[in-house]
Subunit: 146 residues, 2 copies
Amino acid sequence: MTISTDRNQQFQQLNRLIKDIDAGMLTTVDDDGSLHSRPMFTNNEIDSDCAIWLFTYASSHKVVEIEHCQQVNLSLSSSEQERYISISGSAQLVKDRNKLQQLWKPELQTWFPKGLEDPDIALLKVKINKADYWDSRTKFQPQTIS
Amino acid sequence: MTISTDRNQQFQQLNRLIKDIDAGMLTTVDDDGSLHSRPMFTNNEIDSDCAIWLFTYASSHKVVEIEHCQQVNLSLSSSEQERYISISGSAQLVKDRNKLQQLWKPELQTWFPKGLEDPDIALLKVKINKADYWDSRTKFQPQTIS
C-alpha cells in the first residue's frame, strides 16, 4: 500500500507519540459482544504498511476472538507524560519466523518465558484505520490521525 | 442487587487494585463495528451495585455509541506498579445532580473546565460483568474476577 505524504507525516507523528510507551491494552470483541482487554507489548513502531505488531500466543482466546471479529483497539497511556492514545484497527494472526526474529526484544521474556523457541509464539498485525490522542500539550483536546 | 460474600470479597480486591489508578481508557463500539477508546477519570471505587462511575459530557460521541451498544471495556494500567486491569461491563448515561456532586473531585477540572456548572456534564455508570488483572506479584498470569 502506498500512503499519501500527508498520511505518512501523520503516522510519523504517531510513531513519535508511541515511542516511549512499551505496553498497551488490546481490546477485542467476544462472541457474546462483550469487550475484553489485556496488556500487550509493542515494538514501538508503525511500519510502512501503517501496521503495528504485537507478540501473542497463537492458541490464546484473543486470537479466537479476532478470527470472529477483526476489529480491535490498542490503547496506550503514559500518566507521567500525560499522554493517551487510541488506535483503532483490524488484527490478523501472522506466523512468520523471520518477522518474529526481527521484532523480538529481550524485555518480552517476562511474558514469553520460552522466547522464540516456543512453538506457540506468533504475531498480531494490527492495521491502523484511525488513531486519536490526548496530551497535556494540546490541553487534552482530542487529535485525530486517520 | 445482593451479591454473594465471595463475589463481594472479589470486588473488594478489585477496589484495592484500582485504588491508585486515576485514569483509564474506555473502549466503546461504533456503528460500523470499529472500537474506540479515550481517557476517562474514575473515582477509584466500585460501589455496592458492582458499578464504577465515570464523568462524561452527555453530548459526546461515546454516549451515542453506548446508546447503540452498551458493552464497554475500561482498561486501567500502571506501568510503575506493573499492574494491568481489564473491566468488562455495560454502560448507561446517568444525569443525577446529587450523584455528580457526590463523586466530583477537583482533579476533574482539567477535563471539565466548567465543572459541575456545565449543563452537559453527566455520568456513565459501568456495571461490571467481569474483570481480569495481571501484575508482577502473580507473575503476570491472568486473574479473573467475575
